[in-house]
Symmetry: C2
Subunit: 212 residues, 2 copies
DNA sequence: ACAGAAACGGAGCGTACGCTCCGTTTCCGA
DNA sequence: TCGGAAACGGAGCGTACGCTCCGTTTCTGT
């Protein structure tokens, strides 16, 4: 079991091809592209893929690593915005814009399942940032007080669905949806929300479960 | 090819069992339950199913017929409400409550595809009713003016996703989501929506397409 | 130059789905 | 009662997926 830098030249080359191929296909078609399509597009065999990545999940996780850290960076920038509402909303617009561009990212974040190591770590780093964004906007009196951090996944789940349904038909339609939803988040909304937000435990179950 | 009433007694009995079995399983597990599970739960063989319904889609369509007409009834009642906003929102709450109870209905309405005859007819009957609801609420000055009938599927698509994700964890959480979204629909929202609504042609493509 | 370790690739396995085919059983009128 | 039409049921087909296995090829240090 040699260290990562001790790969034979052809192995390193093929690994690169696989990642590039997967990056492209995941972005355009989502993570459900068959592994065979990935290997063919990369010009390698199936065996080669599974020597480098013990599972398809692992490949997904590796390919999306960059996108994950890009999201965390955006969240860190958003937390520092003077206008917390602007920071929060522009973060959401950026993140969901990424979903529209990179369907693989959308699948991992907005769909259930697909919770590999790097995705998990990204979520963990994101959580306190989002909490800060929300707290600040509520302190500044721009975000309704009964919105909670546990409600943020709601935005991703639902936006993901809009993108899935309209991506090939009206690629920017998700902006209309997000705008609508954000208007419901502003302070001064006419109602108070029914039902509590989701607890961390509930969220964990929601993002893991498959059908029984 | 005998008329519908000229079925042999065992055939009529088994057809009833199939529909009952499918109704139950579709409601609890959605339309993705394997046909074999439906036939086993009904105590009949696969051949029996496919003699009565030439395709699984047709079975779905037949089983959901009642739910479809229930929806249309609710829409007709909603149109007549004095307070058009109340009519519109309580219709949405009723419809989405049905989605939470009957996952098969949700799959057909909130998911893409599954567009058989009766579902299609239900949609056609619903369209003018929804248009009236929206027009009236806008005339009464309670629904924002830039919301359009073409945006209604948005509500079903996204609520469907919320239900799918949280049904087993927080069965009423969708109410919180819907409340949030409806607050964004009220007149006096701070923004005007970006991006136009979907045209009928776009909607048709959105509710039909499968992945290429 | 060459041995052998490393990497390769794709046929094939296991699973799950919708649906069909056809030998067997059941019903029902004469 | 009994024959044939009607209905039955489930093994099996075709498809699509993730993944494995192993004979073949390629790289690399000596």
């Amino acid at each position: 079991m040699p260290s990562a830098t001790t790969l034979r030249s052809d192995a390193r080359r093929n690994r690169g091809r696989l990642v590039a191929s997967a990056r492209e296909l995941f972005a355009t078609h989502g993570v459900d592209v068959p592994v065979e399509e990935i290997t063919q597009h990369a010009g390698v065999g199936m065996g080669t893929l599974y020597r480098h990545f013990s599972t398809k999940e692992e490949l997904i996780d590796a390919v999306l690593e960059d996108a994950f850290s890009g999201l965390v960076d955006a969240a860190e920038r958003a937390v520092e915005a003077e206008d917390a509402w602007a920071g929060f909303t522009s973060f959401l617009e950026y993140a969901i814009g990424l979903h529209a561009t990179n369907h693989g990212l959308k699948d991992v974040i907005a769909e259930r399942a697909h919770g590999a190591k790097r995705a998990q770590a990204m979520r963990a780093r994101m959580r306190p940032l989002i909490r800060r964004m929300i707290e600040r906007a509520q302190e500044q009196g721009t975000l309704r007080a009964d919105f909670a951090p546990g409600d943020v996944p709601l935005i991703f789940w639902t936006s993901g669905r809009v993108i899935e349904t309209t991506a090939g038909i009206a690629p920017n339609y998700w902006r209309r949806y997000l705008s609508l939803l954000l208007d419901g988040l502003r302070l001064g909304a006419a109602t108070t929300l029914p039902e509590p937000t989701l607890t961390p435990a509930q969220l964990q179950r929601a993002t893991r479960g498959r059908r029984a």
